[in-house]
Point group: C2
């Protein structure tokens, strides 16, 4: 009798549940549900930097999608029985921390806080905590420089402690009411298994390691003295943060009777420790040494793993280097580009070449496909939303050079795609510079699914085959793989991946005819990159962009 | 009884004739006529650099527009009689040389050559002669460096000898059939006065001095040995080029009986030496020391004059410094921007933000007017068509920096306007650096007429009042002023200007509130300008743009 596991993927706008056959990784059924709170699931205010989610949506979303997916499975297969489901895994966005009370229940579920954004889940893309991030980075540089060595040298406004410190400052009532804070990726497995209580809750190595400076080497989370220096109350919180990190190969508990009843799943099946969606996406895409997984959506996320016994130097400019984070037994490395599809969307939506119309992307893509690399004379920098790796500077802006009186919208569109590909190559080169080989690229995400031109340009620019992952739900598949491992169906994550993941037949191979041109263009890209993005390059133009921003700020303040 | 003079203005697409009251400069009547040859008067081929005009259009255009203008004047005033017209002046584009036979008749008017573009007038914007220009510049640098001191250090592909040398190489039959070459600005007054024969034809100091390295200091045109070194046949031509340059205050002859009959004008009235349209536009705009005349159309032309007795150092990067060229008795200086309105037209027509629609310019202008300087964080270089002054490099390209995911089309539009204003300030600064004061700016041309936002930004960026010229036909008015001077109605061009030119009431004054921001933005513009446009700036990015062009050329050649 076939066995199945369930993967839940809590995204930015919706949650998706897939039921996967453990023997071959095939998706038997799936269901998704859009969060009802806010705008497409995201609670917004006048502050453009603010983005929150309501934890009630996670609870309801888990119940609805699991029930629906089981219903679909039953309808599509006469032999399917929910009792065949042997394990559960959970993927969630992050860093998405939420304040919880003494019992582990989120404050937002209490009547008095139910409409207070500060009491909700602080979504990964919430940027309210820029000043706090800056402060944490500055303090760590002085006091604990090693804390920054595993996260690219700069602590981000998107991360755990920046958000908590910002809450402490701007919503002290919420901070004071909270007993502690947990990541969504930890709280969801906890409520499924009844282990929400702060004494019991497990934390995943993935979110803690990549977003909260957690590392076994220095004893887990940052020490009390360090947090104290940021704020005495943050120091006090340290005692209530438990250094109990688990990999996805470990269960946090078993499905509670209540959740068995609510969903129709068997009581007592193991639930794996949660993990960040991108990282489980890498698992679902078949990440392995030498095989970079690139998730291309509105932004870009790159992940690689190396055996845990390898001596790895610190790699400047990488978002995260964490042992056991992606695949247990390996060091997980994460890099990323702060905008990919968002840049193409900006051009189509804000500049609107040829007019805002449905299909603008496909028209521009068609025209851009007909162009030869280098023929437009254009070159762009892909920094419209800053640069996450390897410069780690969110304030950087975009650039386009080479316009004539005949430059067309599709030429610019292609130059923007190429710019993101050059950004991708810069990350790969940084990895290889530190002896981490990138032989092939497995790609997933919306842009990878929809745009063959982007895939081909990435293959041509990086000089590496781009292999699309078979599943369009790699994150949920990765969660189901974790479920299969904690259920004992496989001895390890890599063993499960071997049978449960696959690639599409279509492979985008580098076209050797354009390698020379792209080599030359990349050299120029790198020059602009260094001239405008660093202070190292002698006599660079680095100050131009920054000073423009200062002027912009000054002018905005004067209004 | 009122006296009138006639000004003819031979433009790129049409010819216009105005009849002006000598006592006050008021336009009594006007008529224009579009050239029938080619596309809007310009003969084009597969070679995108080629642009020619047919001299038959000049003849027909003179006849038709003068007759029509006289008709309009008669109809609008019962007292007007063509016998009240006392003089004629002629403006024409240039350098627009045409090959003529032994009798001075253009080869294109002969049956065998009537369809040969090489036998026609080589329009100012013909760019087929890039290699020849380069060769002339190189030779002059080695052999006669002083030849380049009056034209910004680089001889242009748009100019007289580049075009003749290119004809010699690519259409030797035309070159061999030609006795000599004359500028359109010289040939038109010549046929009106029956002085076309090479022994009689006058040349204007304006075209000769600014476009053909003509200077009394070294005996007129470049010497035979120099031209010989370019090509033996060009050396032979030197003997047939007459060093007989005249200012606009001198007649080239009197209206012939034939042309009196063809037009209805009185026979024997004096016809002034021709001049380049922009220069007569400066006269018509009231150019005077301290008063820069800026013609803002698809491209930009800046002119200033200084008293001829002033000791002037050579000014690098200026298009032309020629005694008596604009106003007799003064040194005429010309600078310019190779694209102004063309850049805005490019953005609207090629990138088409919001869609191609009538009124795009006005929509974008309205939105851009509401923006604060510096608020978009954008900065552009205005080099989409190269840089004419002060870098004198036609291969340079545009640049835009500072884009975010929220940058709008109107923000880019404004940045492009500001970029052209920064380009204008760079020219002014170069003049002042060489002790030529620019106290106010008189503006004319299409963009100046149509777009108050452009005027205001230029005033704010340059810190100088922008005063629009009263006449929208400043070039034709300038020609009529020349006609009034050769008719003896005024003792000099400045005396005629005093009564015959005026400004609009509307003056665009610099807004002191934005001076600081524009000062900062200009500093950054200058940095990019020097970094990408020169090789002087240490550690600059100068090579990026050039190398992109080399790649573009390589790729095009591979196709």
């Amino acid at each position: 009798m076939a066995k199945y596991t369930i993967g839940l993927d809590f995204g930015t706008n919706s949650v998706r549940t897939v039921i996967v056959n453990v023997a071959n990784g095939k998706e038997t059924a799936s269901a998704s549900w859009s969060y009802p709170h806010g705008s497409e699931g995201v609670i917004l205010t006048d502050d453009v930097n603010l983005a929150r989610q309501h934890p009630a949506d996670y609870i309801k979303g888990a119940e609805i999608t699991v029930k629906r997916a089981l219903g679909v499975a039953k309808r599509s297969s006469k032999t399917f029985n929910p009792r065949q489901v042997v394990g559960v895994g959970v993927a969630a966005t992050g860093s998405t921390p939420l304040p919880v009370g003494r019992s582990g229940r989120p404050l937002a579920l209490e009547k008095r806080f139910e409409k207070d954004p500060a009491a909700m889940a602080w979504l990964w893309k919430d940027h309210t905590s820029i000043e706090e991030a800056e402060q944490i980075t500055q303090l760590a540089r002085k006091m604990r420089p090693h804390y920054l060595t595993k996260c690219g040298g700069v602590y981000s406004s998107e991360w755990f402690f920046s958000k908590i410190l910002h809450c402490l400052r701007t919503s002290p009532d919420v901070f004071d009411a909270a007993y502690t804070w947990v990541e969504a990726a930890d709280w969801i497995p906890a409520f499924l298994t009844g282990t929400e209580a702060p004494e019991k809750v497990s934390i995943c190595i993935c979110a803690a390691g990549h977003k909260a400076m957690y590392n076994d080497v220095w004893g887990g989370y940052p020490d009390e003295k360090f947090l104290q220096s940021l704020h005495p109350k943050l120091g006090d919180l340290r005692g209530r943060l438990k250094d109990r990190a688990k990999t996805i190969a470990k269960p946090v508990g078993v499905l509670s009777a209540e959740w068995a009843r609510r969903t129709g799943l068997p009581e007592g099946i193991p639930v794996a420790a949660g993990a960040l969606d991108a990282h489980l996406g890498a698992v679902g895409a078949g990440i392995a040494p030498g095989k970079l997984v690139k998730i291309l959506g509105t932004s870009g996320c790159d992940m690689v793993i190396v055996p845990a016994d390898r001596q790895l130097r610190d790699i400047p400019g990488l978002c995260g280097i964490v042992r056991d984070s992606i695949v247990p037994g390996f060091i997980g490395l994460e890099a990323g580009q702060s905008a990919v599809g968002d840049i193409f969307n900006w051009f189509v939506g804000y500049v609107a070449p040829g007019g805002k119309r449905s299909g603008s992307h496909s028209v521009l893509t068609k025209e851009a496909t007909a162009l030869c690399p280098g023929a437009s004379g254009l070159l762009a920098l892909d920094w419209n939303n800053g640069n996450r790796c390897v410069l780690v500077d969110p304030r950087l802006t975009g650039m386009l050079i080479g316009q004539t009186l005949h430059t067309t919208g599709s030429e610019i569109y292609r130059a923007l795609i190429e710019a993101t590909a050059f950004g991708a190559l810069t990350i790969i080169n940084r990895l290889e510079q530190y002896d981490i080989k990138v032989e092939q690229i497995v790609s997933g995400g919306g842009v990878a699914e929809k745009n063959p031109l982007v895939m081909q340009i990435y293959a041509d620019v990086t000089g590496r085959a781009m292999k699309p992952t078979h599943s369009s739900q790699a994150c949920a598949l990765g969660a189901a793989i974790a479920g299969a491992v904690v259920a004992g169906e496989y001895p390890s994550v890599p063993e499960a991946q071997k049978t449960m993941t696959s690639l599409k037949k279509k492979v985008y191979k580098p076209n050797p005819k354009v390698a020379t041109v792209y080599g030359k263009l990349y050299k120029l890209y790198k020059q602009l990159h260094d001239a405008f993005g660093t202070t190292v390059w002698k006599g660079s133009c680095f100050n131009v962009m920054k000073e423009l921003l200062e002027i912009r700020t000054e002018v905005s303040n004067q209004k």
